[in-house]
Amino acid sequence: MPEVPKPEELMKIDYRPPERPWMETKPEFRGGRFCNAASPKWLEALDYPYARTWSVTDEDWNLPENWKDIVLESMHDRLNRFRSLRLFFDICVRCGACADKCHYFIGSGDPKNMPVLRAELLRSVYRRYYTVAGKLLGKLAGARELTEDVLKEWFYYLYQCTECRRCSVFCPYGIDMAELTILGRELLSSVGINTEWVMASVGSCYRTGNHIGAPPHAYKDMIDFFCDECEEVTGIRPRPSFNRKGAEILFVAPSGDYFADPGTYTFMGYLLLFEYLDLDYTISGYASEGGNFGYFISHEMGKRLNYKIYSEAKRLGVKWILGGECGHMWRVLNQYMDTWNGPADFLEEPVSPITDTRFENAKSTKMVHVTEFTADLIKHGKLKLDKSRNDHIVLTYHDSCNPARAMGLFEEPRYIMRNVCNNFYEMPQNTIRESTFCCGSGSGLNADELLEVRMRGGLPRANAVRYVHEKHGVNHLGCICAIDRAVLPPLLEYWGLDVEITGIHEMVANALVFPGEKKKTVDLRDRTLKGVEPEEIEEEE
C-alpha cells in the first residue's frame, strides 16, 4: 500500500495555481494517486475492447495503433446520443462557481480538480475537432490536439472524480460533471484504458452476481452466518428465504452490506426487521448486488449489470422489489433502471403488506427504498421501539451523494433516526443534504491504491464530523451507503476521529423490541448498552 502523508502534512494545501498554463502541465503518476491498469482477463470476460497487459507508470501505454481515431469516433458517437455532452461542452462560461465545491480540489489544491477545469480537459479536445474557432485558432481558442499525454491526463483526473454531482448543484447552468466523467471514462474504455479495481468488480458482478465475487451458495452461507450472529446477540433467529419463488417481495442489498463490518451489521438489521414483521420476502443469489460499478464507467455496462434485478424479480414471480441502503445503487435504480430494463409491467405497484401504504412514487419502477419502507412502518406505529437502547450512540448523519442529489431522499432516514435514537445532531448545513460532501471514495475509487486521493477527498467530510464530534460528542456517523460504510472508517481513522460508522437499519434493529424477547444487554456489535450493569451480563451467561 502506498505511503500517505500524515494528516498535518496533508493539511498544508497550496491553492495557488502553478506558473505554467494548464495545457503545459502533466500529471505525475505517484503511488496513492492512481489505480492500476485492468488485467486482460476481466476485459475478455466482459467483451471489452483492447484487452492487454500494460502499466500506468509506463511511458508507453501500448495503445492500439489507431487509438486516436477510435477515441474521436467514440466522442462523435456520444455527441450525437447525449445532449448533455454537447450542451455541457457548449455552455460553460468558466465563472468558477464550481471550483471550490469539489472535495478533491478542497483536499488537493490541484487546479485540474476544479470541476470546470476537469471538464476543460475534455472540452479542449471537443473544441479542436468540432468548432471552427478551435480548428483555426488552436490554443488561443482553448483547443488542443488529442495526444497520448492528453489521454493520460484524462485517465488521471477522470479517476479523481467521484461522480458525486456537488458541483452540479452550484453550477448556474446545472452542468453535471458526473455525466462528463462517465462519458469520458467510456472514451478511455474504447481504447482499453480501465482500472483493475473497477473491472474486477464489474467482471465479478457479471458472472457471480456481485462485486465481491460471492457465488449464490457463498452468499447464502454469509446470510446464515448473520442469522447465527443475530441469534447470539438478540436471541432471535431470522428466517430469510433464498431464491424462493412466489415470495411477495424481492429484497436486494448492496454486496458491501454482507462483505465486511460495519456493513454486515446493517444487513443483520434488515434481517431482524423483516423477521419482526414476518415479511414474505426472498433474497436472490443472482440479483445479489444492488450496487453497480458498471455504471461508474459506462451506461452500457451499467445496464448489463442492472438487468439482473428485473429479470430475477420476473423469474421469482414477486410483486415488487425492496432495495437496501446504498448510494449509487439508488442513483441507478431511481434514474436509470426503468429506462434501461423496464417497463416492469410484470410487477405490481408496491404496497406495504404491513401498513397497506401504496408507494405511489414508485408506481413505475416498482422498487422501494428501505428507508421509505421503514419510515412508513414507524409512522403507522407498527414497530415497538426502545430508543434508549441506542443511548450509547451520539449520532450524526452523512447524506450520501446519490440519494441526496439524484433522489432527494432527505427526511426518510432522518425520521427513522429520530425515532430510534435520542441523540442526533446535524453537521454544518453546507455539508449536508444537497450540499453534502462525498466520502471521497465513490465511483470506483475505493481502492487502496488511491489512498492519498481518498484521504484528501474525504477531508471536507472528516472535518465536518470533527465539528460535531468536538461540539456534541458525536461518536457515530450514520449513512445509507455501502461504500460509505466501507471507506469512512479508514477515513475517520486517518483523520484521528474516534467515530464509528453505522447503517440506519443497524440502529433500527438495536431499538426494536421483539415480543417475548430476552433482556437486551448488548447491541448488534455486542457492545454493552448504556445503563446495563456488568453483573447483569454475567447473569445472562
Binding site: 495555481p17 498554463p21 457548449d90 458472472r207 439482473k308 429479470s311 455539508t431
Partner: protein
C-alpha cells in the same frame, strides 16, 4: 501560451475592432459599416443561434437526470415545502417554477459559497474548513444581465415608430436621478461597473485567471467597448440622433439608406455590436439559450413514477440466471438453494 496573453490578446483584438470602423468610416465606407456589416452580423446571429438550438434539440436526452436539491415526493405525510417543490420538481408546473428561478434570478448561483481552509489549533490536524455564503458573483451577474436588458430595451426607441409604451417608462425610471443633462441612465453605469467587476474578478482571482481563456476575456472587453462607445456617444461626442434613428428604422424595415453626417463614434458602436452578434452563436454566450436545455434543471424528479424512454436504447449482452445456475448448479444444490433445472434427478 501564457494565459495572461489570453487577456492581452482579447484587449488587443477589441482595440483593433475599434480602429477598423474608425478608419473605415473616415474613409467614407458608410454603406459597408452602416448596412452590409450589420445585416451580415444579424444574419450570422440568427442563423447561428438557430443552428445551435436545433443541434441541441435534435440530440436525444437518453436519461432523466435532474439534480435534486430538495426533498422528493415519497410518503404522503412527509411535508414538501414550496422550496422542495421548486428544487426537486415532480411535475411540469414545478419544473417551470424551477426554470424561472434559474433564468430570472440565477437560483443556483445564489447558492454560491466560499470555501476556506483556516488554521485551527483546537483540531489535531491543525485546520478547519469554513463555508461562507458569498453573493458577489451573483450580484455582479444579476447587475450585468439586467442592466444589459434595460439598455437593450431603451434602444428600441431607435428601431420603432411609434415607440412601444414601455420604453419611455423604462427610460424615465432609468434616469430617475437627474444629475446631469442629458439625463444619466443608471443602467449604463451599472452595466459598466458590473463588467469591470467581472473582469477584475477574472484577473485578480488566481484560480479563475488560471482557467480563463481568451474566449472569457474577449466578450467582456467587447461589451465594455460597446458600453463605453455608447456612453461617449450619448454624453460627450454627440451624434445626429435623427439620422441614427433614420438608419436604424431603415435597417429593420429593409429599406436600408445611410443618412449623411452621423459621427464616426456611432460607426464604432455599431461595428462592435455587429461583432458581438456575429460572435455570439459560436461562443460561450449561447448559455443564454442553452440554460433552457439543461437536463439537470428542466426535468422532473419523478423517475420512479413515470418511465423515461430513451429513443436509442439497444439490447445488451447479459449473463442470465440460467447461465449462473449452469455454472454453480452442484454447489447451489448442496447449499439447498432451489433450482430451475436439477440435472441429477
Amino acid at each position: 501560451m501564457g494565459f495572461n496573453l489570453a487577456c492581452y490578446f482579447s484587449l488587443f483584438a477589441v482595440i483593433v475592432l475599434v480602429l477598423v470602423p474608425f478608419v473605415g468610416a473616415a474613409a467614407g465606407w458608410h454603406v459597408i459599416f452602416g448596412i452590409v456589416i450589420p445585416y451580415l452580423a444579424g444574419f450570422i446571429f440568427l442563423a447561428g443561434l438557430i443552428y445551435r438550438i436545433v443541434k441541441w434539440a435534435r440530440t436525444p436526452v437518453p436519461y432523466r437526470i435532474p439534480t435534486t436539491c430538495g426533498q422528493n415526493r415519497s410518503l404522503p405525510w412527509i411535508r414538501r415545502s414550496l422550496r422542495d417543490k421548486l428544487e426537486n420538481p415532480e411535475n411540469t408546473i414545478h419544473v417551470i417554477g424551477r426554470m424561472a428561478l434559474e433564468v430570472l434570478f440565477f437560483r443556483s448561483l445564489f447558492r454560491n459559497l466560499r470555501t476556506e481552509l483556516r488554521p485551527w489549533r483546537e483540531y489535531p490536524e491543525g485546520g478547519r474548513l469554513l463555508y461562507w455564503s458569498t453573493k458577489w458573483l451573483w450580484i455582479g451577474a444579476i447587475a450585468f444581465h439586467y442592466s444589459f436588458l434595460v439598455v437593450l430595451s431603451r434602444h428600441l426607441k431607435f428601431f420603432t415608430e411609434p415607440v412601444p409604451f414601455f420604453v419611455p417608462f423604462v427610460e424615465s425610471v432609468d434616469s430617475f436621478f437627474q444629475i446631469y443633462v442629458p439625463a444619466v441612465y443608471m443602467s449604463g453605469i451599472v452595466l459598466l461597473a458590473a463588467l469591470i467587476y467581472l473582469l477584475v474578478r477574472r484577473i485578480a482571482d488566481p484560480k479563475l485567471h488560471y482557467l480563463s481563456l481568451a474566449a472569457d476575456y474577449f466578450p467582456l472587453f467587447l461589451i465594455l467597448g460597446i458600453g463605453i462607445s455608447g456612453v461617449l456617444m450619448r454624453y460627450f461626442f454627440k451624434v445626429d440622433i435623427v439620422a441614427v434613428k433614420q438608419l436604424a428604422v431603415a435597417l429593420v424595415t429593409f429599406h436600408p439608406t445611410v443618412p449623411e453626417g452621423i459621427g464616426v463614434i456611432f460607426y464604432i458602436h455599431l461595428f462592435l455590436v455587429s461583432t458581438l452578434l456575429a460572435y455570439f452563436p459560436s461562443s460561450k454566450l449561447v448559455h443564454m439559450a442553452g440554460i433552457f436545455f439543461s437536463m439537470t434543471r428542466n426535468m422532473a424528479g419523478n423517475n420512479r413514477a413515470i418511465r423515461h424512454i430513451n429513443p436509442w436504447e439497444y439490447p445488451v449482452r447479459v449473463f442470465s440466471y440460467m447461465d449462473q445456475e449452469n455454472m454453480f448448479r452442484k454447489q447451489m444444490k448442496a447449499a439447498g438453494i432451489p433450482l430451475e433445472k436439477d440435472t441429477e434427478e
